[in-house]
């Protein structure tokens, strides 16, 4: 490529990225009513679940909608794992959390809660066929807890007394399954949620009476978004008074899930599931592809620059590049994603969209790997090539561009294709910061229909198909443009 083509390429990429960031943030500017970003759990029926169209419903969601309508504000709902959502509120990324969050003294230190809206308690559940009769039977066994929940915190307070071990899950359905399959012997869960799950076919039974009873509350970061809390409280008082609240609760408690989520018995064949969830899967694949392709383009630019800095004969640039590679290759992708999405806004006070954070994460992490093999590839080009080019009077950069890079890039092609595939797979980790890509799409669909095996099979097939297509494309492009 000559200089002009490179610049065009770069401009195009930047335009696309800026476009995405802009569309991502434009919601706030568009409406005159105050607009909030509110997180909820990906799955916590009956408080949050998806209806058959993939729309979120449930006690929490319906309450929130009723209040928003009365109090004249709009909100964007961002479903995330409970724990990530709770952190995102504290970092200022997200304005509020409505996710069946129990009001505890510890949480009151960092959150401000609205009027308590639902009374709850923690119960213990075991597999239907379990021989466990009381908490005393848990000694030495492992129980399943959901990360960051009040039920988990309660379990830990009695852990010493009953002598059980714990393991953690981010998602209720996976956790229930684990207990039902016997991998773990029991779980601690909020009463309404557990009862609702059992009523809807989860193969568990309740072992204990509700303990540690308390209330759910709508939370914001302490000292922030006070207007939102006031609106919530005013609206809540109103819907309590006029009976809307009771209607909402009655609608979900004691109801079969199929009322909202469609009959679970219909069409649970692979094709049926594929058809039912077509649009969600397509959206997930689209998001995954977008993250992969933009991610690899940005990572390639970043990696090329750092890789070049790593080989120029200059100690400072060399040290800088090595440090960058060391840090971003060393950090697990998930840690980096959380650090950028939750950590940076806590430090700077500026929100970063999940998509921007995700792309930045991919750019830095995949870019560090690319930088390492770019540097390696360039180093493996015989030094005589650089010397011959320099001896003709070409400058270092001209010699690099015209002589060393073309040969080095050819050596790097297999590594690039490999990194492309890795990037595609790594995008699934970004579901942790609330990006609904293909993996998260799978989680969300399963939370609705409990068809774990079949959905994961479909998701796996989709990854394989996409990877095959992308690999094919990359190899074709290499043949077509690489070896001229």
């Amino acid at each position: 490529m000559d200089k002009k083509a490179w610049i065009k390429y770069l401009m195009l990429t930047l335009t696309v990225v800026l476009g995405i960031i802009a569309t991502n943030t434009k919601f706030a500017a568009a409406s005159e009513e105050p607009h909030y970003v509110i997180t909820t759990d990906t799955t916590y029926p009956p408080f949050e679940l998806q209806d058959k169209n993939g729309k979120y419903v449930g006690i929490d969601i319906d309450i929130l909608k009723a209040i928003a309508k009365r109090e004249h504000f709009t909100f964007k709902l961002v479903p995330m794992s409970f724990n990530s959502g709770a952190q995102a509120v504290l970092s200022g990324q997200i304005d509020g959390i409505m996710a069946g969050m129990a009001i505890t003294p510890a949480r009151k230190l960092v959150y401000d809660f609205g009027t308590p809206y639902y009374k709850t308690g923690v119960i213990t559940a075991v597999a239907k066929n379990s021989s466990i009769k009381s908490l005393n039977d848990l000694r030495g066994k492992t129980v399943a807890l959901k990360t960051g929940t009040g039920a988990a915190a309660y379990a830990l307070t009695i852990q010493k007394k009953y002598g059980f071990k714990v393991t953690y899950f981010n998602d209720s359905n996976t956790m229930y399954n684990d207990v039902a399959l016997g991998n773990t012997v029991a779980t601690f869960e909020d009463e309404p949620v557990m009862k609702y799950a059992i009523q809807n076919g989860v193969k568990l039974k309740v072992l204990t009476k509700p303990a540690n009873s308390g209330y759910y509350g709508f939370g914001v970061k302490k000292g922030h978004n006070q207007a939102l809390i006031e609106k919530f409280n005013a609206g809540f008082a109103a819907i309590k008074k006029d009976g809307t609240y009771d209607k909402i609760v009655a609608k979900y408690i004691g109801a079969e899930e199929s009322t909202f989520a469609g009959s679970a018995k219909v069409n649970n064949s692979i094709w049926g599931l594929l058809n039912q969830n077509k649009s969600q899967f397509l959206a997930g694949i689209g998001q995954t592809l977008m993250l992969t392709i933009l991610g690899i383009i940005l990572a390639t630019i970043f990696g090329m620059v750092i890789g070049l800095l790593a080989i120029v004969p200059n100690k400072i640039s060399h040290g800088f590049a090595s440090t960058v590679i060391y840090i971003f290759r060393g950090l697990p992708l998930l840690v980096l994603a959380f650090f950028i999405y939750i950590g940076i806004p806590s430090l700077t006070g500026h929100k970063l969209s999940a998509l921007f954070s995700g792309l930045l994460t991919l750019t830095l992490n995949e870019g560090a790997y690319i930088a390492a093999f770019v540097a390696g590839g360039l180093k493996s080009v015989d030094n005589g090539q650089m010397e011959a080019a320099r001896s003709l009077g070409l400058s270092y950069w001209k010699a690099m561009r015209k002589v060393v890079l073309p040969q080095g890039v050819k050596l790097m092609v297999p590594s690039f294709i490999n990194q492309f595939i890795i990037t595609l797979k790594d995008t699934s980790i970004l579901s942790a910061i609330g990006i609904i890509e293909l993996t998260q799409t799978g989680t969300v669909i399963i939370s609705r229909n409990s068809q774990g095996f079949r959905i994961w099979f479909l998701v796996a097939m989709m990854y394989l198909i996409v990877i095959t297509l992308l690999t094919f494309l990359a190899k074709w492009a290499d043949k077509r443009f690489g070896n001229n």
Partner: protein, 245 residues
């Protein structure tokens, strides 16, 4: 007349290893200087300081009047005037033979693409490889590669040519063609500094033979003087070995 190349008290060390220990040499326009000497004596190192592929530790180097040791000298400008031919050719494998030759004049804005092509074909004809213009370097024999490398260096119209054992990596039957090209160049009046073990070439073409040993120039003179009547014991010893195999 000022010298094309003027080197004064040149030292070069790699860490503690002093490879050049005070070299003085002047090369006049049109002169052909052949450098001989045992392996490791510093011949290549010396040659490579003349176009600053190696940075000298101390001393003075003037090329066409440009002071190489001066940081303000634009080394790329100096190099345009100093062609170099390497033992291992170092052709650019991703480019065709003709593109190898035209790369530098086009990239450095000396010639348009068309002009460079014309010149390139002319130079390839001069080294007897016009019909290989579109071939890739990997399709050439060693001797052909080295002749392309010479054509590539000549494309910048240098006034000085440096050769570092241009025939050492070649099969014996290829050596003649390459030496013939160099002989032609010498006859046209090119200023040349050649490191080689080809004593026949030295006797025939060199105006001066310079003998290197242990980082010093131990002996220099006309080919007759150096080959027939060497004064330095090391030179006597070396010539004994290479001439009477």
């Amino acid at each position: 007349m000022t010298a094309k190349v003027s080197v004064k008290d040149l030292h070069k060390a790699y860490g503690d290893n002093e490879v050049l220990k005070g070299i003085n040499l002047e090369v006049q326009e049109n002169e052909v200087v052949v450098m001989i000497g045992p392996s490791g004596s510093g011949k290549s190192t010396f040659l490579r300081t003349l176009n600053k592929l190696e940075e000298p530790s101390s001393g003075e180097i003037l090329i066409n009047g440009f002071n190489l040791v001066d940081k303000n000298t634009d080394i790329n400008k100096v190099r345009e005037n100093v062609g170099m031919v390497f033992q291992h050719f170092n052709l650019f494998p991703h480019l065709s033979v003709l593109e190898n030759v035209t790369l530098a004049p086009v990239e450095l804005g000396k010639l348009s693409k068309e002009e460079a092509k014309t010149l390139g074909m002319q130079l390839l004809a001069q080294v007897g490889l016009a019909e290989k213009a579109d071939a890739k370097p990997t399709q050439l024999s060693g001797g052909q590669k080295q002749r392309v490398a010479i054509a590539r260096a000549l494309a910048m119209k240098p006034s000085i040519m440096l050769f570092d054992e241009p025939t050492s990596a070649l099969d014996p039957e290829m050596v003649g063609d390459v030496l013939q090209v160099m002989r032609d160049l010498a006859e046209e009046g090119m200023t040349m500094i050649v490191v080689t073990h080809e004593m026949g070439f030295a006797k025939q073409v060199a105006d001066r033979v310079v003998f290197f040993a242990d980082g010093y120039i131990r002996e220099q003179g006309t080919p007759e003087e150096v080959f027939n009547n060497p004064q330095d014991p090391r030179a006597q010893d070396f010539l004994n070995k290479v001439l009477n195999v």
